[in-house]
Symmetry: C2
Subunit: 585 residues, 2 copies
């Protein structure tokens, strides 16, 4: 075994070598734009995660540097994102902590465990486990998370105290507190929300109608949250809104992130392990799909296992610098890409930008109303809500519909962890159920050809003493017994049967359970003097069958083509044309 | 919806109508032989389950009557069996009960829950869930159970007190108690074991050499345990072995089983639910495979869903009459079959035989040494131990080997429930892993034919601007991303590519995740001006794709045959032969 080159684990060695002044300029421009966008986002997602605002900034410095070194995507922008922040809030909430220091330590520990899991999966090249999340489960989970997040921010908009991490707890709590609505807070929150919606829908067309180029107009529209932050902070300062019940961000420590270490308390690890696994996988899936989409547009490729290492080291970096779980964000990465970032160095420059902000801007955040941050979150996450997957799966496949519907309902009612876990288990179960009753077609010869088709769909010839079944599924333990029962039931119906032929052109695998079932079938058919034959067995399946005694014990033969079997078991038709399948080398 | 005829749920209505005096005679003869065999077995398995001897007899009366009414197999003999009794002992052991009445109540409750589960699964026609147990998992579990059972009985042979339900607890406990070996007990136990081994191996040849016909000699050999029971009981009585430290069965209540009811204590149900599920499924799988083997020999069929109802009502009957979980036993059913039983009435007659035994023979059981029962168990279960599955799977498929090895190791070290649960989960995981990286072959045209083969295995023609990939697996969420990455990686390697053709002859399903991946692939290939085509899509898959927008958005075409695609995308070869696939109706 030869070791892979170091550049495989350190993509920076590849792109760093070709780094020019032009690339640097492009990366710098992108970094400035992303920095402006990331400041309000990182504050808001810290709020969503139930953490102090500065942790959002901390999670946007070192993690970006780590990703620049280890990540394989050229344009992915990592940092706090909505869904992962919601999952962080849920994971920490279940610990029942009240001391702010303990809560921060739990978040740091969660980032550490999650970073360790991701890095380990990457080193072991186990990225495929993310595939256990089916698209309907992801889509359902993201949609339900968007609704949950928006609902969780309503209390900040209304200025009330409400509790709960699921709709069934949150909604009654909100209703119960409706009497305490704080009018100044509601004014700020509603105005910011309305403004941000307008920015999203109306600003870009307006800017373009003023003659501003499309790209610039789009970037300008992304700066909406910054405008909202500045305007409401000024308002809070001018009108002293803090004294009128408007909750402000307050004192944010100035300076670079402190070096921090996770807790190694076993009880805390036990409680955080499952949430960390789910956060890791959800974060990875979200991030890798963004990275792939962007890479494909420039005909680049990403390496999913290296992405695990990139995200894993980012989370470890986050935990070492007082942050919380991070991943690649969609909107932020698109901005980075559109702004012309060419290498991960753009991320490192963004990190410098955020670091400058923590040194210089934190005093200005004192008067920032939490309602403004809640408004930016609500407007951002409503873009995640997409119920069209329900309609699409309903039309396409009821099995997929069941998975998406269950994921949405369970996430909303029982919370993010239950929702996504149940979705994964249900989709695996439903897949196994689908393959447990494979399609088996009885086939006959299409007259004048060498081709065999379903006797119920085509006009075909059959031989009275031969039953020919085409099996349209790989054979494995879940469906092996079904095939055995199916064949034996068919045999019990046909009195003068002498041969059973199984056509295997669509059988891609035969595991040991299926092999034993075939052996059993061969024995049982032998007991009633029926010969079993196979045809059109694929190369890899044949290679495997040769490792067992089955082919020696088989009462009949293995024919290369079904037509060979037809000729050997019955009168060959007059058509003298050579069989092209048998003729192939 | 029309209701199925009553006879589907009551097979007795079918066979009872054709019941004749000849059938009755055959059933009666079989019943007498099975009764003689079942008496020592039922006592021994009650001992194995950690229950009083009479519960073994009770579990062999009403359950047999229930199966005779509801079971679909003509010759299956139900009652206590080794593996299920071991699982019963494990399930009850974890409750930490000490009062004999409480232990008996727990066993009755376990039979009740298990019976309810089996009946419910049968009524809902969910018998397929038994298929989630792969053959390697079952084989590994039965083998490990055999070892565990034999080890658990050693204490009765040695006459010592040893504790533990797994090898890691049991072996040290046995070793620690070796100093207390009771010589009279060891003498009885070793003699009985040696005798029973000799009966198994040597008695049949001996009887046959004495001119006794083969069938009769075989049946005579099955009576070995009865001889051992009678001989050691006499010895214990004559030599008053009870006073010499030999543990005897002791007082067994005379009379028919009492009517009993399960506990409805929620804590107990919580603790017994998972064990009951596992007992139900293991018992069902064991029973149904015996029933199928025997039915096939007479070209009869069984109905697995009706078998669930048959076994479920048997367990409910067991719980209502002071018994414990039962299922169809292998050796017992073979004896019943070989003795000529023709209908389930033989089971009902056996029940009468056992009932007579509980009325008349129980006083005689007082002096029966427990060591004798342990010997019958050890000799019986060593037949279950079969490590050849390890070698077979090692040669055939390392994935299956991993499942069987894990099941054996975990069952022996962590116990029956952990072992079988881990085996099921591991085999599902390994199956998903196998299908997560499907075989994809690049194919080309075999010159002079219309057939396409793997370019690495055959000498074929290809077109430089066309990449043709044959996908050898159904596409679903676990492998959808793999295909996308595979195609995009291949595309990134080939500079002048203009067309990608995916051949789908072995794709039996495309779920919504795979559909979205294909849509994504189509979009991404479009972005780099490559056209995507599909060929040889199966009818059911095509029907499903038509329910989505994919076919409208597809940049290329869906060709009926790969040869059509070859002709449309490149220069058609001169060969004017009609394409037989396209010509088929």
């Amino acid at each position: 075994m030869t070791l892979p080159p170091l550049s495989r684990y350190l993509p920076i060695l590849t792109w760093g070598r070709a780094y020019t002044r032009d690339t640097a300029t492009a990366d710098l421009v992108a970094a400035v734009i992303v920095t402006i966008m990331l400041i309000p986002q990182s504050l808001a997602y810290a709020l969503l995660a139930g953490l102090p605002a500065e942790m959002g900034l901390y999670a946007s410095i070192l993690p970006l540097v780590a990703y620049a070194i280890f990540g394989s995507s050229r344009t992915l922008a990592v940092g706090p994102v909505a869904v992962v922040s919601l999952m962080t809030a849920a994971a920490i909430g279940q610990l029942g902590l009240s001391d702010p220091g303990d809560i921060a330590l739990a978040a740091i520990t969660l980032a550490f465990i999650s970073g360790g899991i991701l890095t380990l999966l990457g080193v072991l090249r186990l990225g495929f486990i993310a595939n256990f999340l089916s698209h309907p489960v992801i889509a359902g989970f993201i949609t339900a998370s968007g609704v949950l997040i928006a609902a969780s921010q309503l209390k900040h908009i209304l200025g009330v105290d409400a509790e709960g991490e699921t709709l069934i707890k949150l909604v009654p709590s909100l209703i119960a507190h409706l009497g305490q609505v704080n009018i100044p807070t509601l004014t700020i929150g509603a105005a910011a929300t309305a403004f941000l919606f307008w920015v999203r829908k109306g600003l870009k067309p307006l800017l373009m109608s003023l003659g501003i180029p499309h790209k610039l107009a789009e970037t300008g529209a992304k700066a909406g949250p910054v405008v909202a932050v500045v305007a409401t902070t000024l308002a809070a300062w001018l009108f002293n809104l803090g004294d009128h019940g408007v909750k402000l961000v307050g004192e944010v420590p100035t300076g670079l992130p402190p070096l921090s270490a996770p807790s190694f308390d076993l009880t805390m690890w036990g409680a955080l392990l499952l949430p960390a696994v789910l956060i890791s996988i959800i974060g990875f899936v979200e991030s890798v799909s963004v990275a792939q989409t962007l890479a494909a547009r420039r005909r680049q490729r990403i390496d999913p296992d290296q992405e695990l290492i990139g995200l894993g080291t980012s989370n470890l970096a986050s935990s070492l610098s007082g942050g919380f779980p991070v991943t690649g964000g969609f909107s932020r990465s698109v901005v980075n890409f559109d702004a012309g970032a060419e290498t991960p160095a753009a991320g490192a420059y963004t990190a410098v930008g955020i670091a400058v902000a923590t040194l210089a801007l934190t005093p200005l955040l004192f008067f920032l109303p939490k309602a403004t941050l809640a408004a930016t979150i609500i407007v951002a996450v409503l873009g995640l809500v997409d119920v069209s997957i329900l309609k699409k799966t309903w039309i396409y496949n009821k099995v997929d519909f069941a998975a998406v519907a269950a994921t949405i309902v369970l996430t909303l009612t029982l919370g993010v962890e239950t929702g996504v876990s149940a979705g994964v288990l249900l989709s695996i179960f439903l897949h196994l159920y689908k393959t447990s009753k494979p399609h088996v077609a009885e086939v006959g010869l299409v007259p004048g050809t060498h081709h065999f088709r379903n006797i119920h769909r085509h006009k075909v010839d059959t031989l009275p003493h031969v039953l020919t079944l085409r099996v349209d599924e790989s054979l494995y333990f879940v469906n092996a017994r079904f095939l055995e029962e199916y064949v034996l039931n068919r045999v019990a119906e046909c009195a003068d049967l002498r041969h059973v032929v199984l056509m295997f052109p669509a059988v891609n695998d035969v595991d040991i359970s299926a092999l034993e079932t075939l052996e059993e079938l061969n024995t049982r058919l032998g007991e009633v003097n029926i010969t079993l034959h196979l045809t059109e067995v694929k190369g890899p399946v044949m290679d495997r069958l040769k490792r067992s005694r089955f082919l020696d014990d088989l009462s009949g033969q293995v024919f290369l083509s079904q037509y060979d079997a037809w000729c050997a078991l019955g009168p060959c038709p007059d058509d003298p044309r050579d069989d092209p399948i048998a003729a192939a080398p």
